[in-house]
Symmetry: C2
Amino acid sequence: MNLADDLRLPEGVAALLAPLAELNTADAVEYLNTLDREDAVAAIGALSSARAVKILEQPELHHAGEIVALLAPERAAELLGLMADDRAADLFHELDETEREQLFARLGAESRQAIRKLMRYAPATAGALMTTEFVAVPADWTVGQTLQYVRDVERSRETVYAIYLLDPRQRTLQQVVTMRRLITGDMEAPILSVAQVNAPVTVEPNLDQEEVARLIRRHNLLAIPVVDVQRRVLGIVTVDDILDTLIAESTEDVQKFGGVAALDKPYMQIGFFEMLRKRAGWLSVLFLSEMLTASAMQYFSDELAKAVVLTLFIPLVMSSGGNSGSQATSLLIRALALRELRLRDWWRVALRELPTGAALGAILGVLAIVRIAVWQQAGLYDYGLHWPMLALTIGAALVGIVTFGSLSGSMLPFLLQRLGFDPASASAPFVATLVDVTGLVIYFSIAALILGCTLL
Amino acid sequence: MNLADDLRLPEGVAALLAPLAELNTADAVEYLNTLDREDAVAAIGALSSARAVKILEQPELHHAGEIVALLAPERAAELLGLMADDRAADLFHELDETEREQLFARLGAESRQAIRKLMRYAPATAGALMTTEFVAVPADWTVGQTLQYVRDVERSRETVYAIYLLDPRQRTLQQVVTMRRLITGDMEAPILSVAQVNAPVTVEPNLDQEEVARLIRRHNLLAIPVVDVQRRVLGIVTVDDILDTLIAESTEDVQKFGGVAALDKPYMQIGFFEMLRKRAGWLSVLFLSEMLTASAMQYFSDELAKAVVLTLFIPLVMSSGGNSGSQATSLLIRALALRELRLRDWWRVALRELPTGAALGAILGVLAIVRIAVWQQAGLYDYGLHWPMLALTIGAALVGIVTFGSLSGSMLPFLLQRLGFDPASASAPFVATLVDVTGLVIYFSIAALILGCTLL
């Protein structure tokens, strides 16, 4: 096949490619996402290698793994070899065993080794996020030597803005030089003369990605080196990987807080049964726990029969406990995630939530008492002879329940962290359920206390 | 005062400064946050200007505005003049009118003008986030000229990794050159020869910061230029500002979803009454809406009196609606935030949520029927003669309520977006309240239908 053959594309593919010519990479990805699988494969197969690589490197491209698997094997191997190795490793993860082995066989030894190494790290760790395509030079080089080296390797490195200086003998990490300092240096001066003064901030490969993100942000870095126990640089995590990580974590946090198992795909791409599975689990657990409310109500059914008027306010009183609890939980999830608070601070939070909850409950209690009084006086509803006592019961129950809701909602994230879970696993529905059952018991106990010698 | 005087620090300040010597910037900020106000001011006042500026530039430093206001005015003006102008503008925002004017008077004309300009933009927009300290050169320069210029101005620019090429006459933005391409270029070649091929991605100053973050991430940029209508560059937003933005937005989203007005300070720094204000507002609104449940119950009080057994399951049935609603809301908030879905896709979502909700409701319905049957048969509780009809009522009500919950929970973010609000303003407690009132009506209607000729 000569070049002319290569350029004569089937008409269908030419039509697919036409819009791509005008688009930048991000828009091209969006366009390819609208095509069906075969068309996307045909389009990527027909693009120049440089363009195809850029597109495949975007995590926004849907079904990238499948697309690579459907390309001609030589073409797939070529593109994977040219891609950033961290992204190539992500794609390999999406392939099945046979596809993987088939493509590995065709890759160059260096790419194959780098990708295999990256695939060994657990997902969502520094090791899984990192790229091995960074710039490192011996610490006894000059500024000029380093700059020339960066010029030579620039094309094959994910970033050249952080340059790692290694001990010439042990190859361990000594210092970091930023590109901006490098270019201002005297060409003859030793590279160490423009290096940063502080010891480089590093991470170990098993560190959780959230923690990596926190360090990059804390030290305003463009990349962070991942080192082994001997302080040899295994790779670097760059800030653009961290942006993607933060977005994904934030999605996960909101979904978990809503009481859904975190989705790993966009909403519309999840099949009906997968969606059921992601939601039914938690929903059923909550439902089974919430069944305790029925048991609690059964326990109080004599009181209920005697004073039906008490049932009228059950939803109102209960939901207030759940709402105040979910407020407190959301505040504490973030305070723990941002390290504003540590585990040992739980009692300081408890001491704040107690008066806050009581005050919030008192506010709602006054609203409820006013509501009952107005309805009664205006003749909108007759709560019976003992309506002032009833109003008092509701008001007092609200103080108790909102206090309990705020307190348990704020303690739940601490408890989860103490047990080794992510505090962000605390969900609003979970808190509401927790508070509902206790709330009912509080409600009826206060009712028994206040209405004991009248209604009940 | 000579230098020797300057170096003889009061003993207290020396003790405060001692730990700072060993710490990098981020750790120094953390240490200063543990000091009380006066000590922090004394410590920052006594540091070298370069160090003090680096520390004041960290958004993690607490009460930075107050600290600047408490420094000697000449010192404060000096540090503000040396700081990145976007961060200086943030600090000016925290000062009161008199403090502001006093410091402005002492600033250099250039800094003053830059900061005043930045302060004019609405918070949380590209204009408010941007820095004016970027590198721009005429597009007819050579690579060598540009590199020399970057070397000269490097110290005073927030980033030099993106260089903006301006039309030599109109000063409008023509192209962008990255530092990595610049250093590989031939010194004599025109700078345009190493520029990016695609038109630069730009934003206008009023664009919301979430949108700016999305574009930076989408195009894997280290900085994005902010341009006016004539395409003159006003400033740039850098990726480290975006990291901070994403963290703040994610905190806001979780807090809003929990039903709290977003806090602008760490949890422990918020006073008792401010905390009450942030929480009582929403809690009271929800409470007043939830009062409709009492009205609904009052409406059905005859049925309640006749069949107290119905009340036993009210909390269970109602909470299931709220939980399924909050699941659906959390999914859709993120799908809309990530642009996986557009406003016009609402009906596709509705068509998915209807069968999903019905299936989830059926699962819970079966659980409830089994529960009632087991309790009845095992003699744990007597639901009366018509218990199979009661079980059927609960099961059917769950299908109806969970379907309604999923549907309204998924539509709420669309509705908010349509009305011009942030879809992330939809909170779990809000959805629960919405579903509770309707849920009660569904429950009693189904009960009337099924139990009409027996219990009721």
